[in-house]
């Protein structure tokens, strides 16, 4: 079968101990039977490993941080697009999604397709809005509040019992067993990700996740539940296994239908010993473990590209249960010339 040549630009090339989803998304797209992709990496840092993985990434361009604003980003994307003629752009970081969502129409005029959540979907699933989300969609969520002032930690015991989970608005979460620990984590996380800090009720149970893709019309294109088997000190899955869990899939279908979710998503859930599922987070993009879904029979990155290009995508009806991913680290040997090229010229 003749494969269609397309150019896909992606971020999230930081394939480190807390990896971005870029490389696994690329692997899915590269395994497509439909596309022959040219992959353009969008890197924020000179040492993002993906930039040096030439078997996966054809060319990498440095891009400005989202905090530099929409104009700087668009100007850079316009420059890259003039050279590369990008068909689809997949932002893979939570922190850049808002900027890309805001720029979706401009990108469209440049011939670049995206498939992102709407502003409403993006906003209402924010960690700080989770209690409202749970109430609106009748989903069990842990009680949580958003703090903007460190002094509010003093009053936490009015609403919570320790331990509590201290979370950043985009990333990071720590369990605090005392006020002193809560203060430490508040400072540590807010210095990195800003305010607010979310204080969440600690739910005891097993951490399970679902990677899913919604078509924006209430249909679930694919969904694969996973249990983390090995968790790093950063709370990231180093190994996980696909599950046959109807409750998790029913919850995913319900959330996608009720919110009319558009794009990739990851549901982070806690399963209690009574088999209740608590939603602790919705990440509005495909997660770094998405390649497990590809390995289990659902190539969600390929489906995402198809949706972005306006193609009809038939929902996946099954996946293989008991598939395991095991992450590993690997030292690449690179020439300093390459590092220099990316550092000085912003391309590699």
């Amino acid at each position: 079968m003749h494969k269609k040549q397309i150019t896909v630009a992606l971020s999230g090339l930081n394939n480190i101990d807390n990896p971005g989803p870029g490389i696994p998304v690329i692997r899915g797209i590269r395994e497509s039977n439909i596309f022959e992709p040219r992959i353009i990496g969008l890197a924020y840092e000179n040492l993002e490993p993906g930039a040096y993985m030439h078997n996966l990434v054809n060319k990498t361009y440095k891009v400005p941080y989202p905090s530099d604003g929409v104009d700087a980003l668009i100007e850079r994307i316009r420059y890259i697009n003039d050279i590369e003629k990008i068909d689809v752009l997949i932002p893979n970081f939570d922190s850049e999604l808002f900027t890309f969502m805001k720029s979706a129409d401009i990108l469209k005029t440049m011939g670049i397709a995206t498939f992102l959540p709407t502003f409403k979907q993006f906003e209402e699933r924010h960690k700080s809005n989770l209690p409202k989300f749970g109430k609106k969609y009748n989903v069990k969520v842990p009680f949580s509040i958003a703090l903007t002032n460190i002094n509010d930690i003093d009053n936490l015991t009015d609403d919570f019992e320790y331990p509590v989970v201290v979370k950043g608005k985009f990333y990071d979460a720590n369990i605090a067993y005392s006020k002193e620990q809560a203060l430490i984590y508040f400072n540590k996380i807010s210095s990195k990700w800003g305010l607010p800090i979310i204080i969440q009720e600690f739910i005891k149970g097993i951490e399970v996740n679902v990677v899913a893709l919604g078509d924006g019309k209430g249909n679930t294109i694919g969904a694969v539940p996973m249990r983390k088997q090995y968790i790093t000190d950063k709370g990231k899955a180093w190994s996980g296994i696909t599950l046959d869990n109807k409750n998790m899939l029913d919850l995913t279908h319900k959330i996608i239908t009720d919110t009319q979710w558009r794009g990739g998503m990851e549901l982070e859930l806690i399963k209690t010993s009574e088999n209740e599922l608590y939603l602790i987070e919705i990440n509005p993009r495909l997660p770094a473990w998405v390649y497990l879904a590809v390995g289990a029979g659902q190539n969600l990155p390929e489906a995402l590209v198809n949706l972005a290009m306006g193609k009809f995508v038939k929902p996946f009806s099954n996946y293989e249960v008991g598939k395991i991913f095991i992450r590993y680290s690997y030292d690449m040997i690179c020439n300093v010339d390459e590092f220099q090229e990316l550092s000085i010229n912003g391309t590699l």
């Binding site: 097993i206 399970v208 996973m226 249990r227 296994i241 599950l243 046959d244 869990n245 399963k271 008991g322």
Partner: protein
């Protein structure tokens, strides 16, 4: 003791004694005799039948086997490998 103990239907048991619960992702290993007993439970054999077969094959008193058997069932229950309303 005439009740049939029902293993959850989707539990996978390999011939080498690897037990996998696809609902939770938990996996366990059982020794050869544990595997024999699990297979008999899977075949819906009642306790008396299982006891007869095991005590005939191995050097164990029926009263001792009964105790070991129900300890084993308690562990399976704790691991949520058998249906709730049984045993």
């Amino acid at each position: 003791m005439k009740n049939i103990i029902k293993l959850k239907t989707n539990i996978a048991i390999s011939e080498k004694g690897f037990v996998f619960d696809p609902t939770t992702g938990d996996s366990y290993t059982v020794n050869a005799i544990g595997l024999e007993i699990l297979e008999m439970i899977k075949q819906r054999k009642v306790f008396v039948k299982i006891s007869d077969m095991i005590t005939a094959k191995y050097d164990v008193e029926p009263s001792s086997f009964e105790q070991y058997f129900f300890d084993f069932i308690a562990v399976l229950k704790q691991m949520q490998l058998i249906e709730n309303n049984d045993a």
